[in-house]
Symmetry: C2
Subunit: 340 residues, 2 copies
DNA sequence: AGTATAGATGAAAACGTTTACGATGTCAAG
DNA sequence: CTTGACATCGTAAACGTTTTCATCTATACT
């Protein structure tokens, strides 16, 4: 039913080859003919069949991203912003964006194979990288174009963009130290995320620089949700020698920590300092407003997508490894150590 | 380079038609041949070229959803959850999910045309419906399969799933009235969203039932962000006869309202009652925890996607119009009217 | 006038599938 | 032995493009 090149060709009285050339702007067609074709196309509301184009061109003009919905990550506004950045960039260059949630029961690599082997997409964006990331190893092995959001510790080079978690945590920790804190608890993200390690590094580096011994007891691992921030904070605060400050690996856990402190009768920002990571909108809503490390989610998505598109177009990337330096946003949840 | 049907055919010594039949499970191929083909396919790691299949079948096996990134909606975790529900359902039935952000400068309908006329997707999910929704009119006119999240006021029937905002607001308002409140301010969403009207209806209905006159002065329109909730609340509270309760059309504005009340020295839940809508994770984090109307975002996305797939498979929908009744979640942000 | 050249066009192959149709072979019933 | 039914398989068309190559015409040059 929809109008095809063939229809237009018959209409105008030329061959489909000429129509194709006229519409694509290819050289080798008389200006007068081109105008006739364009007029006919407009009149008939012609639109190309993209599937036919894709089969012919052996390109899908589609980018893919696979997100685990089971994890906490999808409901996180950080992710929504990231995706918005990716999407805006993609459409700017007329790429489609295929978002696939990972079927929970299925093997994760199976989802990647589906994308790669069945040629559903031209390139992939890999998010929340992990140590020894098998997805990256697979894509490298298949020689499939991708850009990762985050680094990994595998023994191979690949293009990525990452927010420098070590840098961010280093400065956050220094900030707390400058405020007089010495016992700073740290609520980490699970070590299955590569960034956990980096951020912890920054924390340790700042401590070391100020000759504060690293205390294993002050490290806890949360699940990124506010509930675990709450529980772990209650745990920390009920010890005999409680910390005077707590750093959480994301704003949700930090917000949970604020709730715990409040429930235990402490004034956050005075009796206890709490510092987050991400700077999601929530950070400005909780009371007191959260001092945190800002991750430019939208920009990161935008930039990664840009890198991937350049990769696909064979343009040389000026930088295959981008490390963004996050900024510490000082609000009200941290203060000088209470002199008790 | 990748292996095709043709390669397999040559390998096994049969025609590509037989190979195709064997792989697809179609009848008319000897069991012994089928096994040989399957073995060869496995050995060669054969995967079909989906673009070729799509061109041939005239189906894309892809669902589309278009999201405006400029609006506040994308960063909203509500939307992330919704999308997760859609994505999980889609992959369950082996559909791809195409997520397109609307190019901000471009005409919105242009994005829909791209999807429909160029046959990028088999069906669409239309979100945040509006009064006289031109997108719906367009899809109806093109006879293109879609399911809407939300109703509209246009003069035509179409399949949708909606959360009954009138029901939700009606019960929320009744709840406040039962607590003794009479002057209940209402921070609406912009009327460009269809649900704004419904929710306001529920509010008015509850008032009318209790013979409380509707006061235009108590209605304000926010932009869904916490900032506007904050500003409008300060505005309400600085009047000579301030309301004793405030309903906001989403949790973000409600959270902003909580901040404003706090800044003005009021204790939320005692001096002032605040009620939200959506029940995003934030609602449990703010202090006091927000009494709000729960919208099942994930389930809604899941269900809508299910409806769309059934539509595409020509199965008859048991219900073309689904109205979910949201539940009031009572927490701590509302209390009896202060007897001053 | 003859010929080289450039520009415009069409025929046809190709992309990798699915499927309608026809051909072949086998076997049982008449 | 003939006939029909059935199972199996191959041929070829189709899906709607893009692109290579050959053809044709008109112009310009010798």
């Amino acid at each position: 039913m929809p109008v095809t090149l063939h229809d237009l060709a018959r209409e105008v009285g030329v061959s489909i080859a000429t129509v194709s050339r006229a519409l694509s702007g290819a050289p080798g067609v008389a200006e007068e003919t081109r105008q006739r074709v364009l007029a006919a196309a407009r009149a008939a509301h012609y639109r190309p069949n993209v599937m036919a184009q894709r089969l012919q061109k052996q390109r899908t003009d589609t980018l893919g991203i696979i997100v685990p919905t089971s994890s906490t990550r999808f409901g996180d506004p950080f992710f929504g912003d990231f995706l918005a950045g990716v999407g805006d960039k993609a459409i700017e260059h007329e790429y489609d964006l295929l978002v696939s949630t990972r079927a929970p029961e299925a093997d994760e690599l199976h989802t990647y194979e589906r994308m790669v082997r069945e040629r559903r997409v031209d390139g992939l964006i890999v998010i929340s990288t992990r140590p020894h990331d098998e997805r990256i190893l697979y894509l490298l092995e298949q020689n499939f174009p991708f850009v990762a959001f985050g680094r990994s510790d595998i023994d191979a080079e690949f293009p990525y963009l990452d927010v420098d978690g070590e840098y961010g945590m280093y400065h956050a920790t220094r900030y707390l130290i400058a405020l007089g804190h010495r016992r700073i608890a740290y609520i980490s993200a699970p070590y299955t995320f590569m960034y956990s390690t980096h951020r912890l590094q920054g924390y340790r580096k700042a401590l070391a620089e100020h000759n504060i011994p690293f205390d294993e007891q002050l490290i806890a691992i949360g699940d990124l949700r506010d509930r675990s921030g709450y529980n772990l904070t209650r745990d920390f605060l009920s010890r005999e020698n409680p910390p005077s400050a707590i750093i959480a690996c994301n704003d949700w856990m930090a917000s949970g920590a604020i709730g715990a402190a409040r429930d235990m009768g402490l004034t956050v920002g005075q009796d206890l300092s709490i510092l987050g990571f991400d700077d999601v909108p929530l950070a400005q809503i909780v009371h007191p407003r959260l001092t945190t490390v800002h991750q430019p989610a939208y920009e990161a998505g935008w930039h990664i997508c840009d890198m991937l598109i350049r990769l696909l177009r064979q343009e040389t990337l000026e930088q295959r490894h981008v490390l963004l330096q996050p900024e510490l946003i000082v609000r009200e949840s941290c203060g000088p150590r209470a002199t008790s």
